[in-house]
Symmetry: C2
């Protein structure tokens, strides 16, 4: 391949590439054009021999298929956008989604949002990139959701479901999960006083978990429950323990945290600052089932979200709707799995 002087090298190179088409490759390899295109379509059936023949021609001619230009013609970019509200709390989810899309030859444009409410600013960018669909692990207003329908752009919510809104979602059953935890705590008969540590105020997931816990506690006859606002961080779990002592004058028998990371903070605060025994003096439960929940330091009682099943469901629901935009919205609700841990007294 000819290379010119350094100033014009890029342009020359780019234009020399541009002249090589899939037709040239097919002719050079002595195969059909559709055979060439099958070699560049992930998952398409093509024999090993055929692939080797085409790839030799590709290398010799310096051919690169332009997925972006193809996208303009086919109106499929083979890109999807994934919104996550804070990657630090959902690394497994992003990893699982990304792996599954990649297996299907679809690429992930990642948008991380500092706050869930940042999403509206991101949407303008998303329209411009002509993605085939969006998975949102962040909140959208009903106006924003309506824009997706207007644009006929498939949208699947990950772990937040909107009641009474026509939109697809995959969620863990937050309320059912909290009920399982509360029934476990209340059923033991040793917990008479409770405190709840909720997550950020703009998180629907946290709202559902807190509501589920409160409802179930009321049903079990515990109506005087201390409520502390956290923000899902370890530090806010530590602070919540101090705040509940200030509010109540003493520690409760059990602390219900809206996620695992705050539960780790609460446990560490109890054990290392207040010299309390967990679970001897106070039981602590979380929600999510992150990896550290099973570490011996914590061995946290929590609800494990079935992340793999949920990610698989979200990916296939989205791609089904890319292929067939007339499919009706669907809400899928997965049960979490109660993880028994030594962070609660029996």
């Amino acid at each position: 391949m000819a290379k010119a002087g350094s100033n014009t090298r890029k342009d020359n190179f780019a234009s020399s590439k541009r002249h090589v088409t899939s037709y040239d490759v097919a002719r050079h390899a002595g195969v059909s054009q559709s055979a060439v295109s099958r070699c560049f379509k992930p998952g398409a059936s093509v024999s090993k021999k055929m692939r080797a023949r085409v790839m030799d021609a590709v290398k010799e001619l310096g051919y690169t298929p332009n997925a972006i230009a193809r996208g303009l013609i086919t109106r499929r970019s083979n890109m999807v956008a994934v919104f996550v509200s804070n990657l630090n709390f959902y690394p497994e989810v992003v990893s699982e989604l990304s792996k599954r899309f990649t297996e299907r030859g679809v690429h992930v444009l990642l948008f991380t949002l500092d706050h869930e409410s940042d999403v509206s600013r991101t949407l303008e960018q998303v329209w411009q990139y002509q993605v085939d669909g969006v998975i949102a692990a962040a909140n959208l207003s009903s106006d924003e959701i309506a824009t997706f329908e207007e644009r006929n752009l498939p949208l699947v919510f990950y772990n937040r479901s909107y009641e009474d809104v026509r939109v697809s979602s995959v969620s863990c059953d937050q309320v059912e999960g909290e009920r399982a935890l509360i029934n476990r705590l209340a059923g033991s008969g040793v917990h008479q006083s409770y405190a709840i540590v909720s997550g950020p105020s703009d998180s629907i997931v946290s709202m559902q978990r807190t509501r589920g816990a409160l409802e179930c506690l009321t049903e079990c006859g515990f109506s005087d429950v201390t409520q502390i606002n956290g923000d899902y961080s370890y530090q806010s779990g530590c602070r919540a323990v101090q705040e509940m002592i200030e509010q109540r004058g003493s520690l409760p028998d059990a602390i219900i945290c809206a996620n695992d990371v705050m539960a780790f903070g609460a446990m560490d605060e109890l054990r290392y600052r207040l010299d309390c025994d967990v679970p001897g003096d106070v039981s602590v439960v979380g929600f999510d089932g992150v990896r550290a929940a099973s570490w011996s330091s914590f061995d946290l009682a929590t609800v494990v979200q079935p992340v793999e099943s949920m990610a698989e469901a979200a990916v296939s629901m989205l791609l089904d709707r890319v292929d067939n935009p007339d499919l009706p919205p669907e809400k899928r609700l997965f049960s979490g799995v109660l993880r028994e841990g030594s962070s609660i007294r029996c």
Copy 2:
């Protein structure tokens, strides 16, 4: 906006959009075309009043700038690819990179690789998407690196540097960091026997850390060092402790883990399975400075990578080279910060 029957709705909608250009918007709003384009360029200067005027016209006409089509004309897609070898170990890095690119109006195509060596399969996809550049937190062969130079596609390695190869990189000084840890351990005078737990065999970072630790231990007069192979996971940290007992017949005075997560596994194994005191019986050190290192359960002595500075450097180095492909490669090496923790005896 006219909507046709459900079958043709998408096509009609898409084509009605396509007819609206930035010229139409400019005329409708009574402003210049360049004012319209400034409104869609992140970071561009435009008054609040002007933006409101343009956005009203945009909404009324149903205009969407097509970033993909623009990319074909300008030869800038405003997309970069980020390769990470395993997201679960680097969530902060992806989050920091993504945030910084987004602030500059650049979007991230995320490729997660199960193993660092998967990268070659990913490259073919990357060429097709016409990204402006790549940040690789994964290993590439020198042939693969050469392909980037041939294509004149900017490439910056994150946290792996290749000696004697003309390629840009941002790294934490792994060797210097390990030396600081070893000098801290050896300087106390209480550690006479050592074991090292290394990371996955295809990780350059792990190799550099292990080599740095071994060299420094030899210089300090400790040549009989037990070496165990881990894979960066918590479980492999637990197993490593059992393996070193089998190999040595007893525990060493200090365990040097190639990352923090294995150190957590080793600490938990020592404390909860073997009923040992950390640091009373055994000191443990890690590397990375992940969030959990500062949690009271661990309070791990480690080297904290300056992730924010490193991410900022990687993003600006890459975008500088997108703007000016003739800039020479540059290697930037950041010192880590020794985190004193109660996981080592003094």
